[in-house]
Symmetry: C2
Subunit: 114 residues, 2 copies
C-alpha cells in the first residue's frame, strides 16, 4: 500500500497556491466554481490543474452533484506525512540542538558566514 514515500503529497503541498486552496477547503467544501472565484488572479484552468494535483495526492475528495463538482479536503495524507516524517525528526529537536552545539563547539569556531 501507499508507495511509502508520499512524494505526491509533498509535491502537491510544495506550491504556495495549492496550500492556499487547502486553506480555503479547510473551512468547508467548495465547488470548483467557488474556488475559481476565491482565486481571482488565476484562470479557471489553472485552478482546476491545482485541484487535479491535490486530488492525485489524495488531499482532495471529489463528489459530483449534477453539474456541480464538490471538492472536499482530506487531511489524512497530511496526518500521514507528519506521522511518518516531520514528527519523529522534530521530536528530536532538543537532541539535535545539543548535537549541533556540541559539534560546533568541538570543531572550528573561526567561521560563520556574514
Amino acid at each position: 500500500m501507499k508507495r511509502s514515500d508520499d512524494d505526491d503529497v509533498w509535491k502537491a503541498l510544495s506550491d504556495r497556491t495549492r496550500r492556499g486552496v487547502v486553506d480555503v477547503l479547510a473551512e468547508r467544501a467548495h465547488t470548483t466554481g467557488e474556488l475559481v472565484d476565491a482565486f481571482p488572479d488565476l484562470s479557471r484552468t489553472a485552478v482546476m490543474k491545482h485541484l487535479d494535483v491535490l486530488e492525485a495526492a489524495g488531499l482532495l475528495i471529489v463528489t459530483r452533484e449534477g453539474r456541480l463538482r464538490w471538492n472536499t479536503l482530506n487531511v489524512a495524507p497530511l496526518q500521514r506525512i507528519f506521522d511518518a516524517w516531520v514528527s519523529p525528526r522534530a521530536a528530536g529537536l532538543a537532541a539535535a540542538g545539543h548535537r549541533l552545539k556540541q559539534h560546533v563547539e568541538s570543531r572550528s569556531r573561526k567561521k560563520g558566514r556574514s
Copy 2:
C-alpha cells in the same frame, strides 16, 4: 521576520532526494564528501546544489573546518511548518471526517467515478 510562509522550506522538502539528505543528516552531521558518497547515483555537483537549497531554507547549518565542510541538520524549520500548518489541520481530522461524511450524505449519492 520569516516572511511567514516558509515556501522555501516546502520547496526544499518537495524533492525526494533532498528528503533523503535530511534523512541521512538526521543521524549525524556529514561532510559534503561523505554525503556525495552516500548518494552514488548523483554527481557531486548535484548533491551540492541540493545542499544549497536546504541551506537557503534554513534546514542546514554549515560550518567549515579547514578544507572540510560540515553539514548539520537544523530541524527548526520542520518544527515551524508543522506547528504553523500541518498540526492545526491534522488535528481536525475527526471533525473534517465528520464534515465530509455529512457532506457526502446530505448531497449526491448517485456518482463516484470508476
